[in-house]
Structures are given as C-alpha cells and as structure tokens.
C-alpha cells in the first residue's frame, strides 16, 4: 500500500503521514525497490487511532506517549496506568479551565444583552468588556 492510498484510506494527506512518521507517531515502513513507502494494512488502523485521538483533543505528544509504550511490547501495565492517569489529569485541568472561560463568557454575554448600544457613548470604552476584569 503506497502513501497516497493510505492517505485516502485514513482521510489524511500524504504530507501529514510523512510528518507523523517524522514525528515518531508512525513507524517507518519498508520501501519498494524504487524507494516508495510500502505500508501494511495495519498502518490504516494506527492512523485511524491517531486521527481519532487527535480529534478528541490529545496532543501529538500525548498520542506518541501512548503509542510508544504500546509498541514496546512489554507489559508495562503500571506505566500505562500512570500514563492514563496523567492524561486524565491534563484533560480534566483543561476542562476546568474552559469551564471558567465559559462562565466568564456567559457573564459577558448577559451584560452584552443588557447594555443599550446607544449607551456606549462616542468616546467611551465599551462597557461590556471593560467592566469584566
């Protein structure tokens, strides 16, 4: 399977696949006599995993961490558990941050609807945002 076929199958560009290889997310595949990358079918699964994990918001570094340990073929279950816990903490922290942001935005939005545009004044700073510090 050449890179273009794999790219089409995974819904990514060939460029992105080479980038993932370079970034250590996808192992370098064997090459044809002409030097073309020749992927096994499993590569599509791996790329699908990467794509989904990335879509879910994991950074490539996080995904790489999961894949690296998986690829080690050792049973480092405790390591994996720790890794998962760490990822979970990061995700929960991000959620917490975003909830704070959301609350702030909802406050701004409430105020925005309450303010009469004519009220902003010719020189005044828009009240919606300035009162929010």
């Amino acid at each position: 399977m050449r890179i273009g076929t794999l790219a089409a199958a995974a819904g990514l560009s060939a460029k992105t696949i080479r980038f993932y290889e370079q970034a250590g997310l996808l192992p370098a595949p064997p090459r044809t006599a002409a030097g073309y990358r020749d992927y096994p079918a499993e590569a599509a699964d791996r790329l699908a995993f990467i794509r989904d994990a990335a879509a879910a918001g994991l950074s490539l570094a996080e995904i790489r961490g999961v894949l690296t340990i998986r690829d080690a073929r050792q049973p480092p279950c405790r390591h994996v558990t720790t890794l998962i816990e760490t990822h979970l903490e990061h995700v929960e922290q991000r959620i917490a941050d975003l909830l704070i942001t959301r609350t702030a935005l909802q406050g701004l939005h409430r105020r925005a609807r309450a303010v009469d545009p004519a009220d902003c004044g010719p020189e005044g700073i828009c009240r919606i945002l300035t009162t929010t510090a």
Copy 2:
C-alpha cells in the same frame, strides 16, 4: 509614562507592550526627545481592556477587531455580542470534545486497574490500550 511603568501598571512585560503596538492593538505613543515611548494614562486602561479580553479567551485578532471598531467611534456592542456568542460556541464545543475524551480515558483507566499485569503475556500487546485502538 514610560514603557516600564506602563508594563508594571498593566501587569505585562515591556516586550509584550511593544508587540501589541506592532500588532495594531495599541497605537504608537509620542516619543520623548530621546526616542522613548511616552504613554498617556489612558494607555493603561486600554491595556487592561486587552488583558481582560484576552483572559476571557478572545484572540488578539478578535480584540483588535473590537478595538478597531471602538476607535472608529462606533458602538461595538452588537459586534461584541456576536463575537462573544461565537466564542462561547467554540468553547462549549471544545468542552464537549474533552468530556468525550475524559470518558474514554476513564474507561481505559478502569480497564487498566482490572487487568492483572501478569496477564499481558510476553509477546502480546498490552491489553489496556490495544482494545482502544
């Protein structure tokens, strides 16, 4: 008011203030005879506005949009309201994505605790993760 004083007042670095000027968020102030930036007191208000809007998660481009309209002496309230609504949607989408990720990680974590490390087998791929890929 020189840049260092303003920076201290606004809780930003002098570098950041120069960057904001370069980015079109802060107008270029008059200069002293020696070429030093000499800010009026209002600059601190403007920077506070920028800081607060950024803290609420608006991008510098979005803030610039608000400021540009404000500087044109038009009431930006409706624009700001729309901006907030759009941004709120993005944040909520992001939160929803992260909640899905969190659920997935929690499931992984439960499975990790349930698996006996000896169970992973010498040649098998660790089960915790493979069932997820």
